[in-house]
Symmetry: C2
Subunit: 146 residues, 2 copies
């Protein structure tokens, strides 16, 4: 499960380029939520000539193939989550954009058919918003309220 991403790529008619391999490695080697820019930085550490455009398009491809999940949480940039398998939800700090995974089998309720608005649904994503411990602490300093 750790390596065959490259095999799955070839099986679907994608060419195996050094760039795709490197991006795949970066994603496999880290369980956090990376922005496209972070992926580019880490990939460039191994393959310095890799361009931003390639990283963006590669991430889109991986996302379309279901190898990576694209997350649009509050922050400025989209994040890419290599942990696709155990489908999970997220907690987001509205102050600093920190992201945590919800590990347990928490899941969103199914939507009754009359609420579908003609759409074909394929996934439900829950985002728990709040303030992380670190941000809550700094707030106390700024707002002593004594």
């Amino acid at each position: 499960m750790s390596a065959p991403l490259v095999d799955r790529l070839r099986d679907r008619g994608y060419r195996l380029t050094a760039q795709r391999r490197v991006v795949a490695e970066v994603l496999a080697g880290d369980n956090t939520h990376l922005s496209a820019d972070e992926v580019h930085t880490r990939a460039a550490a191994v393959l310095p000539e890799i361009s931003r455009a390639t990283v963006y398009s590669t991430l889109q491809q991986f996302s379309a193939l279901g190898e990576v999940r694209e997350l649009a949480l509050g922050g400025a940039a989209k994040l890419y989550d290599p942990n696709v398998e155990p489908r999970h939800h997220h907690l987001v700090c509205d102050r600093c954009d920190a992201v945590y995974d919800v590990a347990r089998g928490v899941d969103a309720p199914d939507l009754p058919a009359q609420e579908h608005h003609g759409m074909v649904l394929d996934a439900a994503e829950i985002i728990y918003h709040g303030v992380c411990a670190a941000c809550a602490d700094t707030a106390v300093i700024a707002d002593p309220e004594e």
Copy 2:
């Protein structure tokens, strides 16, 4: 409930400027999900000199006051939802970014304490992803499969 936003503003020490009034009107007059840019365009139709910076900061203030909800769905821009009262969730088309409201009392499950990661939670948001009817149709044309 339709007008007193301006009252609530003054009560909290905010000044009543023409710009804030116009932005409030734009939001009140429409039940769809508007981007900051759309709000600016509509506001400018009434008050041509209003600047983008003002619209952005006003939307942030309204959002902080709970008069408007800021939505970070997949699209490039954040959307602002004037419908705060019946707290509701959303359906998003991953192709065209169309947004629909979930009207019914569907809601996300509470998160067990051991999953909080030290955060203080204040809201849970469910996003149902899928493909809207219009996009599904065009896909059929592009991919006849015969």
